[in-house]
Amino acid sequence: MMEWFAENPVLSGIIKAVVLFAVPMQIVPGLIYFERRICAWIQDRKGPNRVGPIGALQPLADVVKLLMKEDIAPKGVDRAIYVLAPALVFIPSMLAFAIVPVGMDLQVFNPNSGVIFAITIGSFAVYGLSFGGWASNNKYSLLGGLRSSAQMISYEAALFLALMSALMMAGTVDLNVVVRDQIAHGWNIWRQPVGAVLFLVASFAETNRLPFDLAECESELIGGYHTEYTSMKFAMFFLGEYIAMITMSALMVTLFLGGWSMPTFLLTIVHDWFGVAISFDQVTLGTMFWSIVFFSAKTSALLFLFIWVRWTLPRFRYDQLMRLGWKVMIPVALANLAITATVIVLMED
């Protein structure tokens, strides 16, 4: 099978691309459903439970509702940009997901720029948000757009610096190598705890999730950049946000949580229970399957964290957000980088 993939790069690329598109698109509704259920539980409510068994069809109803809604473009919008903006949010998040190895050596494509591609593409999403805010011809939207651009640019720096620390451990930008390095030397979260925390915090900010959702904040900006969006255009923003969340979780898993690998003691458990011996030395169908399972489990756990944090922490004030970004995260990340570099150099000696 692996051979077949290698022999038919075009066909396999298409298949991978379709899967890449289909899988996150299918995850998002589920994610929305779980977000609603989890937030309900946190608030001692029941959550959606009317549509289908235990409300499982609620996402479907949501989608249908969104599709059925009237598509409104307010008077005075800059129509071209207004229509473009949701796509600009949605597409980069999808593309960034492409380079994440969801299983053992399993990614849609593996450019030699590696993770830098993901970060670069991912940061395009800021255009979508600020375009949306600009084109809506609404002061709240504009404020939301401005906030999001400032916020994302600020936190991108911290995000990248934190990511650098993980890359430096492996000495490469190839994510598969990063994962293998972690198999060999232990997860980066233990070796780079500061980097991991910084990456996590910055990824919250990058995805505009609470406590950093200042671009949307309903109470002040009535939805911010997407105030004036309805129907599928709004749904695209929504999808973009959730896919960005998945991408960020996947990156976090890959960079700091061992990616598709598992620590040896867990592998023994799998061996004991399922009678499957997994060794990540070579790519087989079995290891690939299990690597996908491990990867999905870790990503799901991180997604749960995203949701959990959202319904626990209050929103930051905007100046607090900027202070945290510029005065804490970036200096700490730089210091971390410097120490890491020094240690690496010293150890090489």
């Binding site: 001692d44 409510r45 959990w308």
Partner: protein, 157 residues
């Protein structure tokens, strides 16, 4: 400020320390708290249309005009409710009552339920116990006009 001996010592916010400033312990504490709620699995809400909470005694829902033993409205059109109403949602036009034992009755008695704030002052002000708030609270309608309840509607509530 000066040095007033009797001045209350000013309370200063406690120093947070580095860890505290990073908020991480507090965040962890908060996350544990919410996790506790997830695990607790105890709901305060009902499956609303299927299950209905019995209104608490004294719940203030939609109004009702009461009738006397002979089935006539008790209201004597004294305007006390419309006078006391803070939302000015009660409109009354009085007329002479056709009955020998009563002098005055409302020709028109309208309550604009969209303006009503359900404060219950009308019930409180009524000298004849002619208006009272029921426990009915969920009567959806399609137009605003339907939410202006006239005398017949209020008497049938």
């Amino acid at each position: 400020m000066g040095h007033d001996a009797h001045a209350e010592p000013e309370k200063k916010p406690g120093k947070l320390g580095l860890l505290g400033k990073a908020y991480l312990p507090a965040i962890a504490q908060g996350l544990l708290h919410t996790l506790g709620h997830i695990v607790k699995w105890d709901h305060n809400t009902l499956n609303y249309p299927d299950e209905k909470r019995a209104p608490f005694p004294g719940y203030r829902g939609e109004h009702r005009l009461t009738r006397d033993e002979q089935g006539r409205e008790k209201c004597v059109a004294c305007f006390m409710c419309s006078t006391v109403c803070p939302a000015h949602c009660i409109e009354i036009v009085a007329e002479e009552a056709p009955w020998p034992d009563r002098e005055k009755r409302p020709k028109i008695f309208n309550i604009d339920m969209m303006r009503c704030i359900y404060c219950g002052m009308c019930e409180w002000a009524c000298p004849c116990e002619a208006i009272e708030l029921t426990e009915v609270f969920n009567i959806p309608v399609r137009t605003r006009a339907e939410k202006i309840y006239d005398k017949e509607r209020l008497l049938s509530n």
